[in-house]
């Protein structure tokens, strides 16, 4: 893929918009989605299913509409972000269709559930943000309100009546027929809070306290004790998530994001060290005190142990996911050729394992590369943007994407304990998709603002010419 990495310092020449390149890439993403559905149908039933056109073209229409809107509302925004996100979303849609097709009686009646509706809603939210959030910096005003919103969203599922437990994890709330996972939205609120909080407090937090020395060598420069409050609060929230809500995934995600943004804001690695030590200590204590934490670790380490496998809530899902990936090998079984439906949650937490099985390590690496590209474009937005708040916000959102991927795929492939988390843009499920698209909206808005040429003063016209390529 081509890269438009002109030097993006604020004083650089106005960047080329490259919206046409974006359109081409989006068309590629849509064609891949349609091909995915077509191939899955061919493998499953021997003919190209109608969903290639119904699902594929609906998705295509949404994608092209999004591109068209970009031309009007954010013409200078990074041209790679939208195609990458749409590609991931499309692969997810194709995979979900393929999984539904096996489980429905008639392959032609298989749909993708609500996934396209959520995609549409996600895009609408994305563009509402691009249009109405003219300057993301106004979010700074809501520092503590964001914190409060994040906490309320995290705590909602613990409430009686509306709190809803699915497969042992209390992460959902249910109002009437609608369920959603508020902790997904909490990520956005948390990043906004951290960005504005750290922007105002970073100077204080940068102050070095006592260096901890061994002989003549400085091991670590500890912050002042009076500045420890924020990290302690963050730590308590993370450990609380782990213990009270039994949600190791969100706990890891929140605390990791917190440390990453703290580091970006303060440039102090001692904060990260301190945070990791605290979290490690907390997790160790939790390991010895709470059986559900021990069970998680046991499943991770002894996944291939017969007893652990057969225990209720044991390692069966994890092992079957890995077995599926093993069957995928280098080039995969082809969409529709494998048996990913053997794995529980094949369309959500384990969707990357499903892709590993059917598209092989090759396909999974390709998907990861696109995710990585998306993340790095997000980081670039942070680099190119002006103002501490924007930088923190953009890099925070990019980090959430990569970190979330690490938690879910790392769990599925046994790098870390499996905790259950959503894969950005790909998992079936509305809240996760909405969240991902809202973050894209914010990133695209910041990018558009940063890359838009400064308005020319009238009297300069003719005197200084801006040279266009």
């Amino acid at each position: 893929m081509s890269d438009t990495s002109t030097p993006e310092a604020p004083t650089a020449l106005p960047p080329v918009k490259r919206r046409n390149a974006e359109l081409v890439l989006i068309v590629v993403a849509v064609v891949i989605t349609m091909l995915g559905i077509a191939i899955a149908g061919l493998n499953l039933s021997g003919r190209v299913p109608a969903a290639t056109w119904t699902v594929g073209l609906t998705f295509g229409a949404l994608a092209v509409a999004a591109h068209a809107a970009m031309r009007f509302v954010a013409p200078y925004a990074d041209p790679l972000i939208l195609p990458c996100a749409l590609f991931l979303n499309g692969i997810g849609v194709a995979m979900i269709w393929r999984l539904n097709a096996v489980e429905s009686e008639n392959i032609e009646s298989a749909g993708v559930g609500m996934q396209l509706v959520w995609t549409a809603l996600g895009l609408i939210f994305c563009f509402l943000i691009i249009i109405f959030l003219k300057d993301p910096r106004i979010l700074q005003r809501y520092t503590y309100i964001s914190a409060l919103i994040a906490l309320v969203l995290l705590a909602l599922p613990a409430l009686p009546v509306i709190g809803h437990e699915v497969y042992g994890a209390r992460l959902w709330i249910k109002i009437g027929p609608i369920t959603f996972q508020p902790s997904e939205f909490a990520k956005i609120a948390l990043v906004i809070f951290l960005a504005s909080y750290l922007m105002s407090k970073r100077q204080v937090l940068q102050i070095v306290g006592k260096p901890l020395k061994v002989g003549r060598f400085t091991l670590i420069e500890l912050p002042r004790a009076r500045d420890l409050a924020p990290i302690l609060v963050g730590w308590l929230v993370a450990i609380g998530m782990l213990v009270v809500l039994r949600d190791l995934g969100t706990s890891l995600l929140l605390f990791g994001t917190f440390l990453a943004m703290l580091y970006v804001a303060t440039q102090r690695s001692s904060w990260v060290t301190l945070g990791l030590v605290l979290f490690g200590a907390g997790a160790t204590v939790a390991y010895f005190l709470f059986w559900h934490v021990r069970a998680r670790v046991n499943i991770w380490i002894n996944a291939f142990d017969q007893e652990v496998y057969e225990a209720v809530g044991g390692s069966q899902q994890l092992v079957q996911g890995i077995v599926g990936m093993a069957y995928g090998g280098l080039f995969g079984t082809g969409l529709g050729g494998g048996r990913p439906t053997d794995i529980f949650a094949a369309d959500s937490d384990f969707i990357l394992a499903s892709i590993g099985e059917e598209l092989g390590v090759t396909g999974l690496l390709a998907v990861l590369m696109v995710l990585f590209l998306l993340v790095e474009r997000g980081m670039r937005v942070a680099l190119a943007s002006t103002g501490t708040f924007n930088k923190l916000l953009a890099s925070g959102m990019a980090f959430v994407l990569v970190y979330q991927t690490f938690i879910v795929l790392g769990g599925v492939s046994r790098v870390i304990p499996l905790t259950g988390s959503t894969t950005p843009f790909m998992s079936a499920g509305g809240t996760a998709l909405l969240t991902s698209w809202i973050m894209m909206g914010i990133l695209l808005r910041i990018s558009d603002n940063a890359r838009r040429p400064a308005p020319q003063a009238i009297q300069d016209e003719g005197a200084t010419q801006v040279i266009r390529r």
């Binding site: 077995v323 930088k391 890099s395 990569v402």
Partner: protein, 484 residues
Amino acid sequence: MNTTIRRLSIFCLLMFLVLMANITWIQGIQAPTIKEDPLNRRQYAEQASAPRGPILVGGENVAYSENIADEGDPARYQRVYEGGDMYTPIVGSFRNYGASGIEAVENDLLNGSDDRLAVRNFRDMITGREPEGAQVQLTLVPEVQEAGYTAFENLGGRNGAAVALDPDTGAILGAISYPSYDPNTVVDINNPQDSTNAYVELENDERKPLLNRALNERYPPGSTFKVVTAAAAIENLDAGPDSTQEAPDQLQFPSGPPLPNAMGSCNGGQPDTLAHSIQISCNTSFANWAMELGGEALSEQATAFGFNPEEPMAVPLSVVDSYAPVESDQSILGRAGIGQSNVEATPLQMAMVAAGIANDGDVMRPYVVESVRDSDLSVITQTSPDTYSEAVSARTADMLTDMMVLVTTPPEGSGLNAAIPGIEVAGKTGTAENGTDRTHNWFIGFAPADDPQVAVAVVVEFGGGSGNELAAPVARALMEAVVL
């Protein structure tokens, strides 16, 4: 701040690299190993509708594959099991999501993927013949298996297990575990969901129909273990049938509750002979024998019969270990001498004890697969009898046999229900305490005593009666199926 953002994006790159390296490792390098893991339940799903070789008992198929596809359609094979519940503990079942018994252990031979079938597979490929799996011939004898299973069915819902061995070879003539299940209900490839549900129901059944009690459950052997204690006494203390040992009505240990006799008095409180103690199953004299022997000698004798194995036995189905550890505390050792405290044995283990005595002191290695044959009936493997250990001398075995015959000899014998008219039966009863108010009831023995053709062990789980009352009739049925 751009510096830290750049560093953060390098950290992001590292996280991606870790993921990428790991999935490459799993999918690229480890994949073959993972596919072979027994926890890979897919290997069964793939094979569930593939043809497999049959499993035979006495020349008849007890498991075979049948093509159920309509004519002209691609073949789909349904595994069919004959003989209902009684063979399941050994034969097992081949399900969509797993396999058990011989179906699991001999899977490679049955499905034809074993290396030993490579030449034939190659030949079939060239001649265009449909490749077939090998057939597995078991040592089980239908009459023995049926007699044992029927005997358990008539016990009024009591669970238990029984093993019958050929003492000369170690061949398993019968292995019953009750209750069992009909494997046809869990292998229906047309209704996989029903099959899975049926299996889950079996898994959750508190009577544990999936457990092979004959090989994979340990029970305190109770008084049947006294023959091991007697063997140790003859071998180590130069005792004979007439050697006596103190036999009080109640034995006081250094610690713990006193040990009574089941029948009150053994010899009116006087010292009792070894032979009489076996015949009426005296507790106190055997506890004294054990304490005189010491923990090591008793445990070593048990080890010689197959207890405390260095590595788990496989017949080739895996067998759980039986234990008779070295006891240093006299109170515990005394109780170990009558098969209580820490002594625990599988029914197969106790059958090996009986078979060892029957076979002049030599314990043969038990096996259940007689031979494996190719589809053209040429032999791939043939199990040849192998001595597991020389547990006792022939002389000791003779003495033990004579004493065990007394058990089925009226009027005093404690196991008269196992007597077969016209045939001398050697035996030993057992009524094992297990911490509940319902004892486990045992019988081990062999027949005919002068030329043993079958050795048996029977346990009735929580039978709540005596060994003679509940287990001896089952043992008799098993022995009669061979000798009559």
